[in-house]
Symmetry: C2
Subunit: 340 residues, 2 copies
DNA sequence: GAGTTTGTTGCAAGCGTATGCACAAACTAT
DNA sequence: ATAGTTTGTGCATACGCTTGCAACAAACTC
């Protein structure tokens, strides 16, 4: 069908460079793969000719030949939560610095992760980073069986065979409980994220466990889904109830911002009448309008760890999977009362 | 060096499927490229065997053979401005639906667009979408010379040979001027974005031109850079000056949010004492804390147009480049006074 | 029943690069 | 001078797939 005459396009290949430079194609190839045992003379001549012709090695052909694409697949979505774009940008940037390319996939309403995974695999990615959603265990198995290492970021699935890097979410939840109790709060609430995520489960678990240890039993659980809107609605429900809480821990920052705006709308004074604490430490938390107290995830370290874990396993497929939890730190700002 | 024994990994190729199914390799290939003239019998048998063996066509090999990678390169950065993540997600999603993959590149401090472009090219992308930053004209030329169509999103560079899709920014600026003047404002200000972007230039130009047409000459220009922090600082400077404006037009929404927070901090009542209007219509503008009046970019249409423009040119390299401007719409919310 | 058309499938030549092996030239050591 | 070593380059094949061309059997046509 599309038999358009390709008049202009003239891809320069290593053969042409070789011919112009009076060497063999293999020599050109060796020049570009920095093969040591090449005379400076030829090397330079080839480079010069290549430059003149505008030759760039064809990464696709190289991939086919080396059985390595130097491509990492990244699955990320929910870009309306500012946490993910920042993570994505950092990953892309860092991987690029290390000589890897990023093939981006976004899960969404129409396409589940499991649905788009075959496409990921078709492109022979050397490794896979999953920032949003989780793979079905069946899919994980299929991927790992092909010898493609997987790292889950900010989530984990023990026994799946996938490695994972996550914040120590339970510990974070405990820190928040400590902080709020120490500040003298008595009536607590937790606004959840999506209930099927390890992130939400652990934050909630740590929070409630620590509260129990401190002999606090008065904690409402209000359902949310990690969004601003859910946070707003949940906080509104809580604050207009017969016995409103004086401290709210939110499953993530964006939820907390929603909660803060609900408080503002209801003229509930923060932090005098109400403390709100989030989780993530997204840039917006620092904005004057919010000044959000939160648990900071050690993003840089988490990303660095993820990449290291992944690339190690790209090099050596036999390495066992690893779960890694990095500690968060409480960042005290204006949205939560301080202990006296 | 890395001569690890690949014990587990057994990539299934079309040859193996062919052998198992008792047909030739080409037949297997034809089955997977939906070649019509194949008997149902063989077709189904091949499919069944392929399923059993877990065969997926190797996209890399296919790319090499067809001279088409089905990969679109996307350059995007500044993920802290919520506008871009949303755009990126939409692009990725839509392109995936249409059977294309996205290779993501982020420009940044260390790597300019021009620096990472060679890498983009090495992977033989079939097309290029640039969401952030602009290419140097030299680079654009080099890309286009290779027959790789380029679409600039939300920015343009006339005469570069690259197509572009953008909001009618000047018209948007004019709409804002109209709205603010009609509401009875008299002392205006514009907080700029990065001055070297078409986006900023056009919004400013339209705004000022329309003000001039309406016989308004009193408009301060305060430098910004499309960030919250710059908006906050600029608004603070403006509002604490000897003769503060009563209406501020911001180069984009995130700047406007900063301006609103500055006003809040300085106890300047919005919209009574001050109107603020942004540009983009990011989701956060709807939040209760801001309720931002703004010019909405027709994102869906812009993305659809970009993709159409790009894919057209992937099919037919000879098509001339096109600049396309889609009209924005004023979204009236609470941050700007309404006309009486 | 010979000639023609139609529908299926196989053969084989690429696509652009990497790399083991062979070999010539230039040294080093006897 | 000879044998052994090092250094630099080319040859040829492989990577997994697509696709033009040809082969062939089956189904028609007259």
């Amino acid at each position: 069908m599309s038999q358009t005459k390709m008049i202009t396009t003239k891809r320069v290949t290593s053969h042409e460079v070789a011919q112009q430079a009076g060497v063999s194609q293999s020599t050109v190839s060796r020049v570009f793969s920095r093969d040591t045992r090449l005379s400076k003379t030829t090397s330079e001549r080839v480079m010069r000719v290549a430059g003149e012709l505008g030759y760039k090695p064809n990464a696709i052909a190289r991939s086919l030949s080396t059985q390595r694409t130097q491509i990492i697949g990244v699955v990320a979505s929910y870009m309306t939560n500012p946490f993910f774009p920042v993570v994505l940008e950092a990953f892309t940037q860092r991987l690029h610095e290390l000589g890897w390319r990023v093939l981006l996939f976004t899960a969404g309403k129409s396409n589940d992760v499991d649905v788009l995974l075959p496409d990921v695999l078709a492109y022979q990615v050397d490794g896979l980073i999953i920032v949003t959603a989780t793979l079905s265990s069946q899919m994980t198995r299929e991927v790992l069986q092909r010898g493609i290492p997987v790292v889950l970021f900010n989530r984990y699935a023990p026994g799946s065979g996938a490695s994972a890097v996550s914040c120590a979410n339970d510990e974070g939840g405990r820190m928040v409980a400590d902080e709020l109790v120490r500040a003298g709060h008595t009536r607590f609430a937790y606004i959840t994220g999506r209930p099927d995520t390890s992130t939400n489960v652990d934050r909630q678990k740590g929070f409630l466990e620590r509260l129990a240890e401190l002999k606090v039993t008065d904690c409402l659980i209000e359902p949310g889904d990690f969004t601003y809107e859910a946070g707003f609605a949940a906080a509104q429900r809580l604050l207009t109830s017969s016995r409103p809480p004086d401290a709210i821990f939110c499953a993530n920052d964006i939820t907390a911002l929603g909660a803060l705006d609900a408080a503002r709308k209801l003229k509930v004074s923060v932090p005098n009448e109400l403390s709100v604490i989030g989780f993530d430490d997204i840039p917006m938390g620092q904005w004057a309008a919010y000044d959000l107290t939160t648990v900071r995830q050690p993003l840089e370290d988490m990303i660095e760890a993820s990449i290291e874990l992944l690339l190690e396993r790209v090099e050596n497929t036999d390495l066992a999977s690893v779960l890694q939890f990095l500690p968060g730190t409480l960042v005290r700002r204006g949205s939560a009362r301080l202990s006296p």
